[in-house]
Symmetry: C2
């Protein structure tokens, strides 16, 4: 039996131009004002603002500008939120629109974890069907959608790039901020000025090629204001999922051991790309895309000086 | 009904002095030679070589030397293993001895992730009962034992410190190398020269205070030699567990956002210590110990330049 909604939608925001902005800026006029407890359904554009469609190919990728990253829906003013408060955002539902994409850009553009390893661009356009995304060779990635960008306006005046995450949230890309999760954001300006976008239908911890499964989506959220909570950067409650099947399952792991965490991360991912190429028959470009969509990076130890261990985990359940 | 062993033990190695060494050194004589396919049950000492017992207190910690880190059991020669091969180690069983400890040293000793935050030492001695470890305030941490150190001798001559992990393995502290897992180690010297030790009854990804739940233990493993596998650093297969309950469950998350992965890691852990102190009533020292034993660090994104997101995950099921 289909799930029943146990909440009412108080407001809807379309992804029309008047509701979209692409920089953090506390001087923007809110497009909507809500009271604590109210529920808003946001329509969100994809990360590169409709430059990709279902017929886009890898050859088109170099022409895709990173400039409109990220079109965000909002800002929404939450009445009563004051600097020093915390905005509580309960994520009630995320609904994709049937397709998404994962891309990496040519190495010379210096995007992603391994630009030096990939001279040419790569792209996979995913058919999203229900809670499954279709990759190549029958590989199916479960969908656990979340907003890559979720945040409030910073106190500092002016326009701020949406690419880096900040203390007020933004492009955190925390894949466990799924439906059912609650996100806590430190408020820096009156009425918080909340915005959301850059939704991912799935992503590996790390998002190594700079895109998850990017997808236009609807995000439904309930807002509340907490005044007794003291946080410096965003916090959250989640029920995962922590594996594709939601329970323990076989994973293949690679380690990256180095005296630098970034280098350790690169080593673990390179070894995973080798594994996917040699053992699973993917091209290196396909492997890089799949790592970004479905391989999780964990910091295994960060104390055994002078070398740290970062590990990459590939769920075997995604293979046919 | 109790589990039945489906393998036979071919050899046993006690933790007596003649089977223990505390440096990686390819000139050490093997204490045992095995054929591929054979099973060895290793008795392993704890990480600081019996300087801690069930009656040790935090006041004793500054006197605990880090010098004998780590007493390892071995080396075991595996017949036929040649440089360029891979040693396959199937972990069949890990059995603790009923107690363990988690400690951090005074800040001036510069050990662990946050020495600057903790001037005084800390210690918790755990009662280990079956598959549960007992912390303070009724907090129970499920036990998923693994060897913190598992590796083979490096090609480079001389004695090498066991503290940092290396390309041949060693102190990787990958918590998912549990019973049922298979670890692949790159062989650099003839007969591989395998050693194991530093067992942890539980650990969070990150091992932030420099100790997991350190525990003397038995490790049972089957060895094989793979010649067609090309790996640069250790790899592994595992079934987790990926959460304490083995399935999706509520977690509390903190984020650390910074342009440096190490700084992002520190921020996420500091915020989790604050959370455990303020919301769960633990002292900051207890919180630091619990993070090391049960909080997992994930790299959420490492591509949204110039800021990266590291997240720390606290399982709520460990609380009464």
């Amino acid at each position: 039996m289909p799930r029943r909604r146990d909440y009412a939608i108080d407001h809807r925001l379309s992804d029309d131009d008047e509701n979209i902005h692409s920089a953090w800026d506390n001087s923007l006029d809110p497009v909507l004002t809500v009271e604590p407890g109210e529920v808003v359904r946001f329509e969100c554009r994809d990360a590169v603002d409709r430059q990709v469609g279902v017929q886009t190919t890898a050859e088109d990728v170099p022409d895709i500008s990173f400039d409109p990253v990220h079109p965000l829906t909002g800002p929404v003013a939450v009445e009563g939120a004051q600097p020093g408060d915390v905005l509580e955002v309960e994520l009630l539902d995320l609904q994709h629109k049937g397709w998404g994409y994962t891309a990496f850009w040519p190495g010379e553009m210096d995007l992603g974890l391994l630009p030096e390893d990939f001279e040419d661009p790569g792209l996979h356009v995913w058919d999203l069907e229900g809670d499954v995304g279709h990759f190549v060779d029958g590989i199916e990635v479960p969908l656990d959608p979340f907003p890559g960008v979720i945040g409030v306006a910073p106190d500092e005046a002016g326009e701020h790039d949406t690419l880096p995450p900040r203390s007020v949230g933004g492009n955190m890309d925390v894949k466990h901020m799924t439906a059912g999760s609650t996100v806590y954001l430190p408020v820096e300006v009156e009425d918080a000025l909340f915005s959301v976008g850059d939704c991912h239908a799935a992503q590996g911890d790390g998002e190594v090629c700079v895109t998850g499964v990017e997808a236009p989506m609807f995000v439904t959220a309930r807002f509340d204001v907490r005044s007794g909570m003291d946080i410096e950067q965003p916090q959250f409650e989640t029920r995962g999922p922590f594996t594709p099947t939601g329970r323990d399952e076989p994973m293949y792991g690679t380690t990256g051991i180095s005296d630098d965490l970034m280098e350790a991360t690169k080593k673990a991912v390179r070894q995973m790309i080798d594994h996917l190429h040699e053992e699973r028959g993917l091209s290196r470009g396909e492997a890089y895309l799949l790592c970004s969509a479905a391989v999780d990076l964990k910091i295994s130890e960060v104390v055994d000086a002078p070398n740290w261990t970062v590990s990459a985990y590939l769920p075997e359940s995604i293979f046919p």
